[in-house]
């Protein structure tokens, strides 16, 4: 199937999201769609699949102009959109999910369990994944759930599958499986539109890249003939320079020391230390226990044994409140679920962790609050309409900056960052790296958990590698590279 979208305009109210957007998708190719957050990638795909209607422009599928009115129509034509937030029913079984709304019925009009089980099995086998069709969806890993979504697409005979950030929540090994599946889909003539921020993946997987900037089509490049710098330049319209800004700061005394931290079955005997002004990268596969270790240090997850020392003194941390009293700040991996009150203003969000600073005898000093929030918006370059702006309406990068602003002014001695740039576009990423560097320069000890190896390598002074709840090694910046980190993370030795 070939698709050509051209001259697409789309406005929401007075806000024009797409202006002369489009791209051309060839038969059996994996086509990356790139652009900063808010560039209009998802909107363009939603127009293609009939979720939104366009204001202007044409969509041509196999030489015929089309105008899908809803996703069902697009699906019938063979175009399926797999959203970033997977569209699965967690309490139902795999098979019930696969046949949702298209159940096979017997002659009495009842569901034919047997036939569905058989067909589900076949479809899963064709995809080459080992999943029991009778398993309840919530027992599957995110990677497996995604496979079910792809399976669903194949069962309606999809010719084009659109994937929005498919690897954002996948482990390394699940990503490998996904890529294999995508390759075999391509061989069988299915075209894939691949939306992602992860440049390395795109260069590994895709055939061509189309770039959108501010809702406008900028250009398409063949992968072998381009490089990351050119793509970044297309995306942001200028040279971004070094992706990881230089950090020039003195590394001081040890601030945090963790000894023998253990929670059975989750992490064992975790030992490490972080110094003032240092960035300790924490790498490992998804599910290795990185997040749990950090949650335990922050008092949000009880542990069984082990010691935490801050500035040489043992401390008891049983709740986030105690962690904060001991000078620890924590930026969680999932800002939408744990990091922000999405329906509240920037102001209410920033002040939440700063209530002791902006109040006296529990009474809030509104003037102090406004000053703090204004300072946060300015210093961290949060692009918004002002302190009242609701966080829901901010881009991912700006949301993340609000989360940073919440913690920066609590004056932490130790700041734990869990996936600080997840779902953040390249421009905002660089700004966040600068914020991290500024904090390190002020003497904050920083622990940065990240699944993006280039980021870990670019930002860390030392890299700690976790595998199956154990610290497998700590590598100095000079010696760290993708190979030795991955070796440790996947069970090898160096």
């Amino acid at each position: 199937m070939q698709i050509e979208m051209k001259g697409i305009d789309k406005s929401f109210g007075t806000n024009q999201v797409l202006k002369d957007a489009g791209f051309v998708l060839g038969h059996g190719e994996v086509h990356a769609l790139m652009g900063e957050n808010g560039a209009g990638k998802s909107t363009l795909m939603k127009i293609l699949t009939g979720v939104y209607t366009k204001d202007k422009g044409t969509v041509i599928v196999d030489g015929q102009e089309v105008n899908y009115k809803n996703p069902q129509e697009a699906e019938k034509a063979g175009i399926v959109f797999i959203h970033q937030e997977l569209n699965v029913l967690f309490d139902l079984t795999v098979e019930e999910n696969l046949f949702m709304g298209k159940e096979i019925k017997n002659k009495f009009g009842f569901c034919d369990q047997k036939a569905m089980r058989q067909k589900a099995k076949e479809a899963l086998e064709r995809l080459g994944v080992q999943i029991d069709p009778g398993e309840v969806m919530s027992n599957l890993s995110v990677g497996q759930q995604q496979m079910i979504e792809i399976c669903k697409a194949l069962m309606v005979d999809a010719k084009v599958i659109i994937m929005d950030e498919p690897t954002a929540a996948l482990t390394q090994s699940e990503t490998v499986v996904l890529f294999e599946v995508i390759q075999s889909l391509r061989k069988s003539g299915v075209s894939i539109v691949y939306i992602s921020h992860r440049m390395e993946e795109i260069f590994e997987l895709c055939d061509r890249i189309s770039v959108l900037r501010d809702g406008t089509y900028v250009g398409t490049r063949n992968i072998p003939e381009t490089n990351m710098n050119e793509i970044v330049k297309l995306m942001i319209g200028r040279e971004i320079g070094e992706r990881y800004p230089e950090r020039d700061c003195e590394i001081g005394e040890t601030v945090l020391k963790v000894k023998g931290l253990t929670k059975k079955g989750v992490f064992q005997d975790v030992e490490f230390e972080v110094k003032a002004g240092e960035v300790l990268g924490v790498s490992g596969l998804m599910g290795a226990g990185r997040t749990e270790i950090m949650q335990a240090i922050f008092g949000n997850l009880p542990y069984e044994s082990g010691k935490i020392e801050i500035n040489g003194k043992e401390v008891q941390i049983k709740s986030p409140i105690q962690a904060m009293r001991n000078g620890i700040g924590f930026i969680t991996e999932d800002r939408k679920v744990e990091g922000l009150m999405l329906e509240e203003s920037i102001e209410k969000n920033i002040s939440l962790a700063n209530l002791p600073i902006i109040s006296k005898n529990h009474v809030i000093d509104s003037k102090k609050e406004r000053e703090l929030v204004t300072k946060g918006i300015e210093e961290l370059h949060i692009r918004c309409f002002g302190p009242f702006h609701e966080c829901n309406n901010l881009s991912g990068g700006n949301q993340q900056k609000v989360v940073f602003a919440k913690w920066v002014y609590t004056d932490p001695k130790i700041l734990i960052l869990d996936e600080p740039t997840r779902g953040v576009d390249i421009g905002a990423k660089k700004e966040i790296y600068s914020i991290i560097n500024d904090l390190a320069a002020k003497g904050v000890a920083i622990i940065m958990v990240s699944s993006e190896l280039p980021e870990v390598l670019g930002m860390s002074d030392r890299v700690l590698v976790v595998r199956e709840g154990l610290v497998r090694g700590i590598i100095d910046k000079e010696e760290a590279n993708q190979e030795n980190i991955m070796t440790l993370a996947t069970g090898g030795t160096i």
């Binding site: 986030p320 009150m341 209410k348 002791p356 529990h362 809030i364 009242f388 702006h389």
Partner: protein, 313 residues
């Protein structure tokens, strides 16, 4: 730009409830000369104080994404205990203070069930609602407790006036101001909203979720007990069935005021307007001689319209 727009619609929405109230008052005033007298308005306000005080407490609970079904039973039990103490010779003032403490404690127990007991708020307060009502029946043996003597304080709370303004109305207004301050100007208020908006986020930002929940239930219990004292003062006796079904009027007032039942969003002055709408309906429909069966149907429809218009924005 966008924030300004949002604020204007926000205000319009607040105004919406206010306009509804004004329309009701004007409408009923036109048809009923009895309704539009100063003394009727004062008595209407006095009637509204019972539900109003409970609804203020309920607002706090609902803002944390919880619910308190036990308010009517807390009211009954604390009032019965108060009456029992007075009739057995405890000075009325002391008995009333104790009743407020008991109400606070009874509320806090619901809070403990929700936090430490990890029960869902609906179930936890369904339990306390049932148990407290039963305890009231046991304590009173199912009979009203009267012979409350001739205490000045007790009479003052429900029947007293200050320059023609009934004491319950003055209490209602002062406590409204107190709640406004508490919810909008204090760190506790922020904790309440944050807990209801996203408790995971609040917890990670150093908000003590359990403490916040226990306190809102304690406040709700206190308000129920206070409301009960006004009733006791007005009725001169403690009925074991006192306060039955009061939770529904309180929840209705909170909903009318635009507070989200899933917490995090809502305003205390919205609740105040909701309380007044319900009071005007009760009072006005009574004066117009509408049968109480029809009254409930009409009340239901008013709530429906209010909630639907809330959804539109």
């Amino acid at each position: 730009m966008e924030t300004n727009k949002k604020k204007i619609t926000d205000h319009l929405q607040d105004l919406g409830a206010l306009i509804a109230l004004a329309l009701l008052v004007i409408g009923i005033s036109i048809v009923s000369p009895e309704f539009r007298t100063g003394s009727n308005f004062l008595s209407l306000l006095r009637q509204s104080s019972i539900n109003g005080l409970i609804a203020f407490g309920m607002t706090c609970v609902i803002l944390t994404d919880a619910i308190d079904l036990s308010v009517g039973s807390v009211l009954a039990l604390s009032t019965a205990l108060c009456a029992g103490m007075i009739s057995s010779g405890v000075p009325a003032g002391a008995a009333m203070l104790l009743a407020l403490l008991i109400g606070t404690g009874l509320g806090a127990i619901s809070g403990l069930l929700v936090t430490k007991g990890r029960l869902q708020a609906f179930i936890a307060t369904l339990i306390t609602m049932t148990v407290y009502r039963g305890a009231t029946m046991i304590f009173t043996d199912g009979k009203p407790i009267s012979n409350l003597g001739d205490s000045f304080v007790l009479k003052l709370v429900g029947r007293g006036n200050f320059y023609r303004i009934p004491i319950p109305v003055i209490l209602l207004i002062l406590i409204f101001i107190g709640f406004y301050f508490l919810l909008n100007k204090t760190t506790f208020g922020r904790a309440v909203y944050a807990t209801g908006s996203n408790w995971k986020c609040a917890k990670l930002a150093g908000v003590n979720i359990n403490k916040t929940k226990i306190i809102v239930y304690a406040i709700s219990g206190f308000m129920s007990a206070l409301s009960g004292l006004i009733l006791l003062s007005r009725l001169g006796s403690a009925q074991p069935t006192l306060g039955d079904g009061y939770e529904l009027d309180a929840i209705a007032a909170v909903a009318l005021g635009g507070t989200s039942m899933s917490g995090g969003r809502g305003k205390i002055y919205g609740t105040f307007i909701g309380v007044l709408i319900i009071a005007v309906l009760n009072n006005g429909l009574n004066i117009l001689g509408v049968s109480s069966y029809y009254q409930d149907v009409i009340k239901g429809f008013v709530i429906l319209v209010a909630v639907l218009s809330d959804r539109k924005r």
